[in-house]
């Protein structure tokens, strides 16, 4: 009985999956679908029976709903590269403007000189994350230097996302540990959250 129920469930699941995943039937002989696009013109095609806007060289339509670019993965890599360069720009700008002491930073001036400043998105998340990273690094480094000057031992480490920062959740962080050699229970820790997990 249990086996029969499992079989019925499996067949039902396959039927639901088929109807849910492939929205309509493709006719390879005529290079078109046999039914209209179930999502209508939201699929991006003016002809509701057409396959990939009649441009199968550049697009695919695996679900029968809308055209996709199979090379989107490479665009994601491109976005990753842009994000990384924006992060570096934010980090560098914060450092070389001495954290806002100067109006413009050395790195920004260099980008202007090279004519590539248009590339930096100063309002974007990666740029801001870079700036916050630089501020955290400066705060923790100055804390470490200060502690060393008054005779404490220090250690700065980049820690993974294991510490809970209130409602922000678990974030990576820079941690400054300081202690006095041989003094019992003198160890302390300060953490500066970084804006990524």
């Amino acid at each position: 009985m249990v086996k029969l129920m499992r079989l019925v469930l499996l067949v039902t699941a396959i039927l639901i999956f088929n109807s849910a995943v492939w929205a309509r039937i493709y006719d390879p002989g005529n290079g078109r679908f046999l039914q209209e696009d179930p999502i209508g013109f939201e699929g991006g095609d003016v002809n509701l029976f057409a396959y990939t806007e009649n441009n199968p060289v550049n697009y695919t339509d695996p679900w029968g709903l809308y055209s996709e670019n199979p090379f989107a993965f490479f665009y994601d890599l491109d976005n990753f590269a842009i994000g990384t360069s924006n992060f570096s720009a934010g980090y560098g700008d914060a450092l070389t403007s001495l954290f806002g002491f100067f109006d413009t930073s050395l790195t920004e001036q260099t980008r202007e000189e090279l004519g590539i400043n248009w590339n930096a998105d100063e309002c974007g998340g990666f740029f801001r994350a870079g700036r916050i990273g630089a501020y955290s690094w400066a705060a923790i480094t100055s804390g470490a230097v200060g502690a060393r000057l008054v005779g404490w031992q220090t250690r700065v480490g980049l820690h993974g996302p294991h510490h809970q920062f209130g409602r922000f959740g678990r974030l990576s962080h820079l941690q400054l540990n300081y202690w006095k050699n041989g003094i019992s229970k003198s160890g302390r820790a300060i953490r500066f959250p970084l804006p990524w997990r």
């Binding site: 540990n177 202690w179 003198s186 160890g187």
Partner: protein, 142 residues
């Protein structure tokens, strides 16, 4: 729900690290049971999920966080080496690292103490003893 985590594969180690990270332990609470080949480290763990808010002041909150006693156990130990250069007595966990090629587990800490063990197989557990140590009162943002 009381904490009880067991890791016997290296991909389970992050859950152990999540449980012990930034928890403090005393060197005198490190015990190596040679007969059963188990290393035990008792540590204090704050439980922020059970915190009580005592006062609100702008973006700051005064909170009371219970601190409970937990134990980290590393099983199947062949050799155990602890090097304490700083002689501070109290240390904070950072993470656990497992090197399968050398069958070695390293306990990484913030305040430095070098704890390295070689094992016959990976099995690490963290559990609560059920003993409440204190209620820590502190100020936090938000």
């Amino acid at each position: 729900m009381p904490l009880n985590i067991v890791a016997d594969q290296s991909n389970n180690l992050p859950s152990i690290t999540d449980a012990i990270h930034d928890c403090w332990f005393d060197k005198e609470d490190i015990v190596f049971h040679k007969d059963s080949s188990i290393l035990e480290i008792k540590f204090d763990r704050e439980v922020p999920e059970n915190r009580k808010i005592l006062k609100n002041f702008l973006l700051l909150k005064e909170v009371q966080i219970p601190v409970i006693e937990c134990i980290l156990r590393i099983y199947h130990i062949k050799t155990c080496q602890i090097t304490d250069t700083e002689k501070v007595g109290r240390y904070d966990f950072n993470k656990l690292e497992y090197d399968p090629n050398r069958s070695q587990i390293c306990v990484r800490t913030g305040v430095p103490i070098d704890i390295k063990v070689t094992v016959n197989g990976l099995r690490i557990a963290v559990e609560e003893t059920g003993r409440k140590l204190e209620d820590k009162v502190t100020w936090v943002f938000f």
